[in-house]
Amino acid sequence: MSALLRRGLLDRHRALIVWALSIGLTGAFFMLVWPSIDDSISQALDSYPESVKEAFGITTLSNAEQYLNAELFSFILPFALAIFALRTVASAIDGAQERGHLDVLLSAPVSRRRLVAATFAAVAIELAIILLASWALTCLGSLVAGADLDAGLAAAGYANVWPLAIFAAGIAMLVTGVSQHAGAVTGVAAGAIVAMYVLDLLGRLSDSIEPFRWLSAFRYYGTAAVDGIDPLAFAGLTAAGLLLAAIGALLFERRDLAG
């Protein structure tokens, strides 16, 4: 598996740098502006209805971690990395199949299970690299601007996105098990992530929908940049992602490769 894993990481290193810089600089930007909007944004938040604040998991904005949680970790980052993860899976398997590359690769003594494992491992490592680099750039931004960001809580916020993105990759792998088209994999998996987000959001607002929140991965996401990581939710989401990928691998073994 190591040869496939290494090749996958090398092949996508440019995209990895772009993603890490984009997200890291976004985090750094938030830290650079935080000291100048600290007071005004807290006042603005006070004017929002309590239900809306609760729905988005933002009750106060009195420090840099809470601001980062509201601006980056509650919406932008989980969606961005979920899209990154599911697109990487779709491109590495069904995309490669559409380009005719899998016919070549799977003429070598490589099992489909091994291909899935290498793809999944590469996605997991790439996510970790993006998050680590983004955390470092965000901390640098805080240092430059004097935003007084708690590096430990920021690390928890970034790390907490990893299992959610792994779960998105698991959904993509599951769809790959039955679909021969990268576009369909991306569309269905992205749709599932959006649907889960909406379900969780509505569940927070409506008592009638709340009992179904357990179906959403966002139910277990939490606010790690403020409260720290929930180890059970972290492990559970990761395990669910791995389980979906394992089922996807079994289905992938049983289906034809499109020519």
Binding site: D103, V104, A108
Partner: protein, 299 residues
């Protein structure tokens, strides 16, 4: 033991035909040609052997191993070149591709890739995205051959290669045969198959119509004969010869079809002053026509 055995191998798709009841063997050390027009089912058969497609019914064994259950072990012993080779992102060089496949196959170094690259004038250090189709195909050829496998599967391998490289490829296949390697060569070019194959299988509409020695197949079908004489010649003289049909006279030339022994034709022509003589093999479609219209040939 045959290297490849299929027993009523069938692959059906939801929306189009694949292959139907293909039963065949490819002996070890044999170059077996799989001939058929585009869309006949050649690639489907190859992809089913490689476990890229799963059979609807029937079975295939390679090296005595089940094509589905033992697929990874089978693929360790073969090399495959698809019709239009491409692999990885455009920035990847041939050398990087071969290095990856060497690692996947557990081969130290690049095997005989350097020697083959020199022979086929393949540039291993240019990104594959900058290579023409023919030059990409050379990298694919190296990928199939560098580890010196027991079985080579070539699916329309010469498409995109220039005539010189096509010649070199056919010479290589002959060498592989002499070294006892088994080759499954899919093609729609009868001349190509005739030059290197021991036996050929004709496949059309997903069905294997016949398997026989290529010389027998060509010999059984007609050839186009054109004879140009210095003086006008009576067409009836040639029309009366055994195996001659469709005789036409045009501009001092006799044009006809001939099957079987050519000796009577040559002797009849020798009685006149011959300016030119051309003998053309039938196209693959014409060979197929023979098998559709001649019950003797189908037997």
């Amino acid at each position: 033991m045959p290297t490849i055995e299929t027993e009523r191998l069938t692959k059906r798709y939801d929306n189009h035909r694949g292959i139907e009841d293909v039963t065949a063997t490819v002996e070890t050390g044999e170059v077996f040609g799989l001939l058929g027009p585009n869309g006949a089912g050649k690639t489907t058969l190859i992809r089913t052997l490689l476990d890229l497609l799963h059979p609807t019914s029937g079975s295939a064994r390679l090296f005595g191993l089940d094509s589905r259950r033992d697929s990874v072990a089978i693929r360790a012993r073969l090399g495959n070149l698809p019709g239009d080779f491409s692999y990885g992102p455009p920035s990847l060089t041939g050398r990087e591709i071969l290095t990856l496949f060497a690692q996947l196959r557990g081969v130290r170094g690049l095997g005989n890739a350097e020697q083959l690259a020199g022979r086929f004038r393949a540039d291993l250090d240019r990104p594959i995205g900058q290579l023409s189709r023919g030059n990409r195909q050379k990298i694919g050829l190296l990928q199939a051959l560098f580890h010196d496998p027991e079985l080579l599967i070539f699916d329309e391998p010469t498409s995109g290669l220039d005539p010189l490289m096509q010649e070199e490829f056919l010479a290589l296949v002959t060498e592989l045969r002499e070294r006892g390697k088994t080759v499954l060569l899919s093609s729609h070019d009868l001349d190509e198959a005739e030059r290197v194959c021991n036996r050929v299988g004709l496949i059309r509409d997903g069905r294997l119509i016949t398997v026989e020695r290529v010389a027998d197949m060509v010999g059984r079908s007609y050839r186009h004969v054109t004879l140009a004489f210095a003086e006008p010649v009576d067409a009836a003289e040639f029309a009366a010869l055994p195996g001659v049909s469709d005789v036409a006279s045009k501009d001092g030339q006799l044009i006809f079809k001939a099957t079987g022994d050519l000796d009577p034709i040559v002797k009849a022509a020798a009685r006149h002053a011959v300016r030119d003589m051309q003998l053309t093999h039938p196209t693959l479609e014409e060979v197929f026509l023979t098998y559709y219209t001649d019950p003797e040939a189908r037997r």
